[in-house]
Structures are given as structure tokens and as C-alpha cells.
């Protein structure tokens, strides 16, 4: 049994830290934050996403891979060779931690699509990359791309998040943004790929909740070429965000108006221009409305978005101090790393908080 | 101008205004109508009722039923025991108004006292009229049959198997006959007219009624006058001798008009009033049996001594007295009488073309002309008679309904669909939800 073979329900903890000025900081901080919410996880999955961590390779897609075995690795690498220029490849550095066991082969590739392949595919570069990621994940048995963005990376494993952080030596990375996830699945035997964050290109999603619209969303997004192999909420949410933001060109604020659309009664009370826009978005993408409890932190290149379901059925707190922005399932997870906050608040249900780097910073 | 209850006050009475003083002479139906109307508009003004009787207001037509045992003196009360108290009326019993002084706006009573008024209503009713008959003075047990006191007196002398002679086969005489029939007395009725109930029935219908009464052992001598009385024997004009123990005089009544006539107010047989029940003298109104008004069925002025009429005239007077312009222009003769289980209903005037339909004791005759129903006589089957009455009252053009049908069978079916919708309220129903 592994992720994707059944629908997996879970409760969770999420945390995120963002430097608006683009100042890079160590991954140590996010481990401190997430570890406070130890009891919101049950040791069956933890993970992190870091942004700005690969400045030297910032123009290349960083593929993080799990391999079940060397055969899979070989097959996958042959595939990568055929489609990409591999600039660098290495094992992802880890340290032995007693709590983390049964690790797969964990590799990292910095790649760029082969121009000839890209041209003949008639796809844009990012779509080409996405297609390749799906190809590997669905057709190369034992190989799984769990991170595929530029200048960012996902680190995840079976275990409590703080152990996962130490395992991946996260303190050795520096970035302008980190997100973290501690998982509390109700029934998973655990599979490393099923841990969170879930990522596609530079979108990474950590999610706390269990969405009731799952199958409506899944069946809808699958119509646009996405394959929901994991049967997790996070996966489908990531795809929806990718679809709306990257493929349909909606701004993240507009994305929020789709996935956590205001109630019709709220929309009716808005001024005409805004009302029409909200009506348009809600009706055009009706099946991408996500209902049921969720709090998500979406990482993307140059920014972070925190969003609650429209009824705010899951806790989520946001804090600010100078140029630092914090978001977590619990206020304590922020206070533990920065007790002297300028401002702390709970965003309303459906109200996306979107933070981006100040102009010129990266 | 308005009629019915749609009323509008043309005089504002508020705090600071002097309270009105209403005086009503008479304590019967018209007086009650007036009191109830005044109190609708004026809760404060004082009302004084002057009555020459000693009773709480009672229904005069019930005296025959009293004798018949169908009612009693308590149930005969036309309004409840608290009527005067609830309506804040000062009731002066056993007082007779002898004179009105319109310039001083006061009424002089028989005890010499006076009552001043702002608005005065004269509803003195009428009194039995007894024509001169030789030997009448010598008759011991003779009664009129008009008031409660009359009824009590008559009741006191009646004993089983007595012979009672009633002079007059009109309404009063015949109701009296029915009333006393309970006492197992022998009743004979004499009338100058050739038929019974001559003022309200035509020949055919009168014959039916007479036949019915005869079945109940009432003997009639019609087209006969009393030539003279000799002790307990009455001699008719054809020399028939009728022996009697008790004599009831029910020849007729005369409106009591002297109070108005004496001070130069316009009178005829009755006190002449307009459609607001005003007499010719300012601030003096008249209503009920003492008054004379237009019968809409014949368009003639007449005294219509009928209870419903009295109430509605009293009400009209009361409304106007208390400052609300109100017209009563729906007076017409109308009678509903039961005699020994046979019901007789009449209304209006018997002129014009006739529709008739009779079968044994069920008798129907409708009189119409100029597209209007003028009057009708119904005996026996009186179901829904009020529909005919309303045609007279409302002067309904007969071409607006199915006259043929309504002649056969009174009902709303004969009216147009629209009229029915109005009458039954359904007209608004059709627009619901539209």
C-alpha cells in the first residue's frame, strides 16, 4: 500500500517563513517553528520547501527524486538524458537520524530542457517540464519526482517534521522562504512521496485539512491533463493552483476567488465591477471551488500565499515583524521563533494573504 | 354625503369642547338605534332618554310571543341589562315630555321639570287608535294590544274557554290572536276590510292566510263593522251577534306627532323628516313609528311603522346628531310574520307586472315595473327571501340579472359572475398570485 492506491485523509500542521526583503536565512528556523506543533503530526510524514536555496543554479530546474531502486534510477536518468541537459546531479545530502528509516535513494538533478526536444514538443518550457514530471511519475516504476522548480527545493520524508529537517540537514540551506509540514494521516502506512509539501515546478503546497470537494476537484482538474496519482488533497490543490495561475493566467488573488470563492450572498453585495468579476470566476471554474476545511501555504517563486477555506474550518495565524512574514497553524509556532511581533492576526476564511518579494529583491 | 357606514366626521370634537347633550324622547327601537350610533362617534356627550313607560327597552312586537310563551319578559329585552350603563345613558322612566321649547332648546316634562338639549330626537312611536263605537265605554274587559302593559293586562284576565273578540284583522289583531290562542280561548275576528292583513296582502294571499287561520279555529267576520256593543255582545253591521268575554281593539295606530306639530314643525300623518331624519326644526330629529319618510318602493312619503325601519332611522338620526353626515334612504315597507307556523313575508309596493307561482300554501308573487322589483308577497316557502328584498332595497336594475331564474328561485346564481364575485369576495381571489 502506498499513496495513490487509496484516498488518504489527514490532519496536519503547517508553517511558513518569508523574508520580504529577500534576505536569506537558515532552514534551522522553520524546523524550530514546526517542531512546536509536534502533536499535530503523528510521525507519518514531514517535509519542507525552501525558496532561494539554489542561487548558483537558479536558472535550472532542480529535480528532487526518490528512487525505490537502482533500476528505477537508471531508467529515469536515461529519460532525463533524452529530454534535458543535466547540469549537475548528486545525492541529496542527508544525515543519519534514528527516527528516519527505510529511506529511498534520494537524488537531485539540475536540468534544463533540450532545445530540440522542447521545440519539437511545441510546448512552452514549463509545460514541457510538467509533462516530463508526469511522465516519470506515472510511467517509470519506482521513480518519483517530488520537487521540480527553479531555485527551490522540497525535502520530505516519513517521520516527524523536525526529524525530517535534521535528516535533510536543512540548517545548511539558506533561503528567503521556507515552508514546513507535519502530517497526521489517519490511515497511511506512509510513503515518502506522499509526505508534504507537494510541489510542481516552483509551486509547493503545504496543507492542513481534508477537503470534501476532493473528487469533484480531482475529476475536474484531470480533464486538463493532470494525473492525480497520489489521491491527496494537497496534490489536487497544487494542480488547481498551477492550472489557474500558470495555465489560465489568473493572478493569485483571482485564484483565491476561485478555490475559496466568496458565498453568492457575499458576491451580491459587492460593487458591480467586483461582483461581475467574482461571478465570472466562480461560474467559469465552478468545479475548482474547494470546500471543506483547509489551510494552505503556497510557496512560489518570489512569494508566499496563505489561504483558509471560506468557512475557516482550520486554524491559521499570520504574524509580521519588520520585513519578516510568518504563517502557521498555531500562533505558538510563530512566537517560538519571533515573540516580538509587530502584528498578529487570523486571516478570514477565503481571504488569501499573498506576500511577495519587495521589488528588485530575489 | 354618504350612506351606510362609510362616514366622515364633519365636526371635530376634542378636549376643551363643551360636551354635547343629547335628548331622546321615547325608549324603543329608534332610541336604541340612535344611542348606538351616537356612541360610535361621541363617547363623552350625555344622553338623556325620556320614557313614559316604566320598562327597560323591550321589543314591542314580542308581546304576542310573550303570551304565546315563546319568550319571557327577560328575554324580551331588546338590549341587555347593561345597555344604558354601557352607553352612559341617563334613563328617565315614567316621564312624559309635554312640550318642546326649541328656542330655549329644552323639553318640558309632565312633572314640570325641563331637560335641555343640544340635539333632540323625537321617537315617540304611535298609539292605538280606537274609533268611536256605540256602547264601547260600557264594555268591561276591553284592551288594546300595543304595549307590554297591554299584554300583561290582557294576560291577567284571560281564562280557558273565554270568548275573545278581536276588532281588527291586521298585523296586531292577528298576532294577538295567535298569542292568546295558547290560552285555549275562542277567538273571533272582525274587520271592516274584506280580507285579513289587508294592508300587506292581496286577495289571493289573504285568502290563503285566512284559510290557514280558520284551520286554527279563528272565526272571521270580514267587511263588517261593529254597529254597537251591548254588554258582552257585539252587533255587527249585518246584525250578527257576537258574544264575548274579552274585547281586544286592534283597529290601528296613530303616530304620536303632537310634540312637533304643537311647535309648528312640519307633520302630515307622521312627523315629516328628511333622509337625515331631520325635522323641519333645527337640531330636532325624528325617527321610528312617529315619523313619515319616503318609501323607495313607491317613492311616496309614508309612515312605515316597522321595527327594522325604526332602528335604521334611529341610527341615522344618531349619526347626524353626533356630527357624522349620514343618509338613510332605504326605507320601504317590509314584514315577516309567522301565524300558526305559516310564514308570510311581504315587502315594497304591489304595482307593476306580476310574476306569480303558487302551490297550495306556498305562494309567491313578485311585482315589477320599469326594470325594478317593486314588491313581493311570499307565503310558505320563504327561503332566501332577503335576496328579493335586496333587489328592492338596492333598486337593482332587473336586466343586470337573470330575472327569470331569480323569479323561480331566489339566489346569487341569478346575478352576473362579476357581481357574485363581488358579493362573495372572490373577485380579489382571481388576482392572487398574478
Amino acid at each position: 500500500m502506498r499513496e495513490g492506491m487509496f484516498r488518504n485523509l489527514s490532519g496536519c500542521a503547517v508553517s511558513g517563513i518569508f523574508s520580504k526583503s529577500g534576505k536569506r536565512f537558515s532552514g534551522e528556523l522553520i524546523i524550530d517553528s514546526i517542531s512546536v506543533m509536534h502533536e499535530r503530526s503523528n510521525g507519518l510524514g514531514g517535509g519542507f520547501a525552501g525558496y532561494g536555496i539554489y542561487p548558483e543554479y537558479k536558472d535550472f530546474y532542480a529535480f528532487h527524486m526518490f528512487y525505490d531502486n537502482f533500476a528505477a534510477k537508471k531508467e529515469c536518468e536515461e529519460f532525463l538524458e533524452r529530454h534535458f541537459d543535466i547540469i549537475n546531479l548528486s545525492k541529496i545530502p542527508t544525515r543519519k537520524v534514528p527516527q528516519i528509516k527505510d529511506e529511498p535513494l534520494i537524488w537531485r538533478y539540475f536540468v534544463t530542457p533540450l532545445p530540440t526536444k522542447l521545440a519539437s514538443s511545441q510546448l512552452d518550457e514549463r509545460e514541457f517540464v510538467v509533462k516530463c514530471v508526469f511522465r516519470i511519475n506515472t510511467s517509470i516504476k519506482g521513480a518519483y519526482v517530488f520537487s521540480s522548480g527553479k531555485n527551490m527545493g522540497v525535502f520530505k520524508a516519513m517521520g516527524y517534521p523536525e526529524d525530517v529537517g535534521r535528516f535533510y540537514r536543512l540548517e545548511e540551506y539558506e533561503g528567503y522562504c521556507f515552508t514546513a509540514h507535519g502530517r497526521y494521516p489517519t490511515n497511511t502506512p506512509g510513503w515518502w512521496g506522499g509526505a508534504h509539501p507537494f510541489a510542481l515546478l516552483d509551486y509547493s503546497v503545504v496543507h492542513n485539512g481534508e477537503i470534501s470537494s476532493y473528487d469533484a476537484n480531482r475529476r475536474s482538474i484531470e480533464m486538463y491533463g493532470y494525473k492525480c496519482t497520489l489521491q491527496t488533497d494537497t496534490e489536487v490543490i497544487t494542480y488547481i493552483i498551477d492550472y489557474l495561475n500558470r495555465k489560465k493566467g489568473l493572478t493569485l488573488k483571482e485564484v483565491c476567488s476561485v478555490i475559496a470563492a466568496p458565498f453568492w450572498s457575499t458576491i451580491e453585495r459587492k460593487p458591480q465591477e467586483e461582483r461581475e468579476e467574482l461571478e465570472f470566476l466562480r461560474s467559469t471554474f465552478d468545479s475548482l471551488l474547494i470546500t471543506g476545511p483547509f489551510s494552505i501555504i503556497v510557496g512560489f517563486e518570489g512569494g508566499l500565499m496563505a489561504l483558509n477555506d471560506r468557512l475557516k474550518l482550520r486554524s491559521m495565524v499570520v504574524g509580521e515583524k519588520d520585513d519578516m512574514f510568518y504563517v502557521a497553524s498555531e500562533e505558538a509556532a510563530i512566537r517560538v521563533i519571533q515573540n516580538d511581533l509587530d502584528r498578529v492576526w487570523s486571516p478570514k476564511g477565503g481571504e488569501g494573504v499573498i506576500i511577495t518579494l519587495e521589488k528588485g529583491k530575489s | 354625503m354618504c350612506s351606510g357606514l362609510s362616514q366622515r366626521s364633519n365636526r371635530v370634537r376634542g378636549k376643551g369642547c363643551l360636551s354635547m347633550q343629547y335628548v331622546i324622547i321615547g325608549n324603543s327601537t329608534a332610541a336604541v338605534g340612535a344611542v348606538e350610533a351616537i356612541r360610535r362617534n361621541d363617547k363623552e356627550g350625555s344622553i338623556v332618554i325620556i320614557s313614559n313607560e316604566s320598562h327597560h327597552v323591550y321589543s314591542r312586537p314580542l308581546i304576542s310571543y310573550l303570551l304565546l310563551g315563546k319568550t319571557d319578559e327577560h328575554r324580551m329585552k331588546y338590549r341587555g341589562d347593561n345597555f344604558y350603563r354601557d352607553n352612559k345613558c341617563e334613563l328617565m322612566l315614567n316621564k312624559t315630555a309635554v312640550r318642546i321649547e326649541p328656542e330655549k332648546k329644552q323639553v318640558i316634562l309632565d312633572d314640570g321639570t325641563s331637560v335641555s338639549y343640544d340635539k333632540l330626537l323625537v321617537c315617540t312611536g304611535s298609539s292605538p287608535f280606537v274609533p268611536p263605537m256605540p256602547g264601547l265605554d260600557e264594555v268591561k274587559n276591553k284592551f288594546t294590544f300595543y304595549t307590554l302593559d297591554d299584554a300583561r293586562a290582557l294576560d291577567n284576565v284571560l281564562k280557558e274557554n273565554m270568548k275573545v273578540l278581536i276588532v281588527g284583522a291586521g298585523l296586531i289583531g292577528l298576532k294577538c290572536a295567535e298569542g292568546i290562542s295558547k290560552k285555549n280561548v275562542e277567538i273571533t275576528c272582525v274587520d271592516l276590510a274584506p280580507k285579513v292583513l289587508s294592508s300587506i296582502l292581496d286577495e289571493e294571499s289573504s285568502a290563503i292566510v285566512k284559510g290557514h287561520l280558520e284551520e286554527h279555529n279563528i272565526k272571521f267576520y270580514l267587511k263588517q263593522q261593529i254597529a254597537k256593543f251591548e254588554g258582552n255582545i257585539a252587533y255587527l253591521s249585518d246584525n250578527t251577534e257576537i258574544e264575548f268575554d274579552v274585547l281586544v281593539l286592534a283597529v290601528g295606530v296613530r303616530p304620536n306627532i303632537s310634540l312637533i306639530k304643537d311647535i309648528g314643525g312640519k307633520t302630515n300623518r307622521g312627523i315629516i323628516i328628511d333622509e337625515r331624519c331631520r325635522t323641519s326644526i333645527p337640531d330636532i330629529y325624528a325617527a321610528g313609528d312617529c315619523s313619515e319618510s319616503i318609501d323607495i318602493s313607491s317613492e311616496e312619503a309614508k309612515v312605515m311603522a316597522l321595527l327594522p325601519n325604526a332602528y335604521m332611522q334611529g341610527e341615522c338620526a344618531g349619526m347626524n346628531m353626533s356630527g357624522v353626515d349620514f343618509v338613510f334612504d332605504k326605507a320601504f315597507p317590509m314584514n315577516s310574520i309567522g301565524l300558526f307556523g305559516l310564514h308570510i313575508m311581504t315587502a315594497g309596493t304591489y304595482t307593476g307586472e306580476v310574476y306569480s307561482d303558487s302551490e297550495q300554501k306556498n305562494y309567491k308573487k313578485l311585482f315589477y315595473s320599469n326594470n325594478r322589483l317593486n314588491g313581493f308577497i311570499l307565503i310558505g316557502n320563504i327561503e332566501k327571501a332577503g335576496i328579493y328584498t335586496s333587489l328592492i332595497r338596492e333598486r337593482t336594475p332587473l336586466d343586470t340579472l337573470n330575472f327569470e331564474l331569480i323569479c323561480k328561485m331566489p339566489g346569487l346564481m341569478a346575478f352576473s359572475r362579476k357581481t357574485r364575485a363581488e358579493k362573495l369576495g372572490g373577485i380579489k381571489n382571481e388576482s392572487i398570485g398574478a
Binding site: - | G4, L5, G33, S59, P61, L62, Y65, K70, T71, R75, M76, K77, Y78, R79, G80, L307, P308, Y311, M312, E315, M334, N335, S336, I337, G338, H343, M345, A347, I382, E383, K384, A385, G386, I387, T389, S390, R393, E394, L405, P410, G411, L412, M413, R417, R420, A421, K423, L424, G425, G426, K428, N429, E430
Partner: protein
């Protein structure tokens, strides 16, 4: 003031109103027991002819000629409802002669009978209204 209104458009001529009325006036518990083998004498009556039918009952007029003409004071109007004091009524039928709707009938007990709006005993709605299967008889407020 709520009144009974009749719309002949919806009257089916089923006569149920008459039976419910007759039943209501008995105060009995079971219609079958009360009305079995008797000729009913309802206070509401259907007029019907040529496919047209409608129920007629007391309109509780604003200007009630029956009350004004009642020679005994047995009829009176209280809180908008015209009621009979059967004790006082002597069956002179002046009201039958006065009613423009034919909605007052002689009754078996010598007095008259008419609809007195059986709203106190039946959940605030007259039985004829409850019994009408098609909304031809309604009990509602309709202003002046």
C-alpha cells in the same frame, strides 16, 4: 378582520363544505357517527346550476340588515362576527327577509341559524374552509 371568501372559479360543487359545516355545528367527534342517516342542515349552502357552483354563507356584513332589523336583539355583531342568541330568537325570520345573500335560514329548533364562524373551536379556521378541497373557500384578511 379575517372573513370567509368564496371564489366560484374553484368550487367543485362537491358539497363537502356543507358536510363539514353540519358536522362542526354538532360538536361531535366523528362525522360518520354524527351525520349517518340524517339530512344535514348546514349553515353554508351550495348554489349550483349548469356547471357553476359556489358556497354561500353569512358575509358578516359591515352593514348587517339582519342585525339592524332583528326584532328581539337576538342577532348582534361582536368583534366582526354576527352571532345569534338562540334564547332570544323567536323565529320571526325578519333576518331571513333582510339578508341580501340568503345566508340566514330557519332552523329545526324554531330559531334561525346562520354561519357564526366556527373559529374558536377549530384552530382558528372555519370548518367549511378546512373542508374545502380546492381553496374555493378561504378565510383571510382582505382589507376594506
Amino acid at each position: 378582520m379575517k372573513r370567509v371568501y368564496v371564489n366560484e372559479k374553484w368550487c367543485l360543487g362537491c358539497h363537502l363544505c356543507e358536510y363539514y359545516c353540519a358536522f362542526a355545528s354538532t360538536g361531535g367527534k366523528d362525522m360518520a357517527l354524527v351525520l349517518k342517516d340524517i339530512e344535514i342542515s348546514p349553515r353554508i349552502r351550495i348554489e349550483e346550476m349548469d356547471g357553476i357552483s359556489f358556497a354561500v354563507s353569512c358575509r358578516h356584513c359591515d352593514e348587517p340588515f339582519c342585525v339592524k332589523g332583528c326584532i328581539t336583539g337576538a342577532l348582534s355583531k361582536n368583534d366582526g362576527i354576527i352571532t345569534i342568541d338562540k334564547e332570544k330568537c323567536i323565529g320571526c325570520y325578519t333576518c331571513v327577509l333582510s339578508c341580501p345573500y340568503g345566508a340566514v335560514q330557519p332552523s329545526d329548533d324554531g330559531a334561525i341559524q346562520k354561519c357564526e364562524l366556527c373559529i374558536k373551536t377549530h384552530a382558528g379556521v372555519p370548518q367549511c374552509v378546512l373542508g374545502c378541497p380546492n381553496g374555493a373557500i378561504v378565510f383571510e384578511e382582505r382589507g376594506a
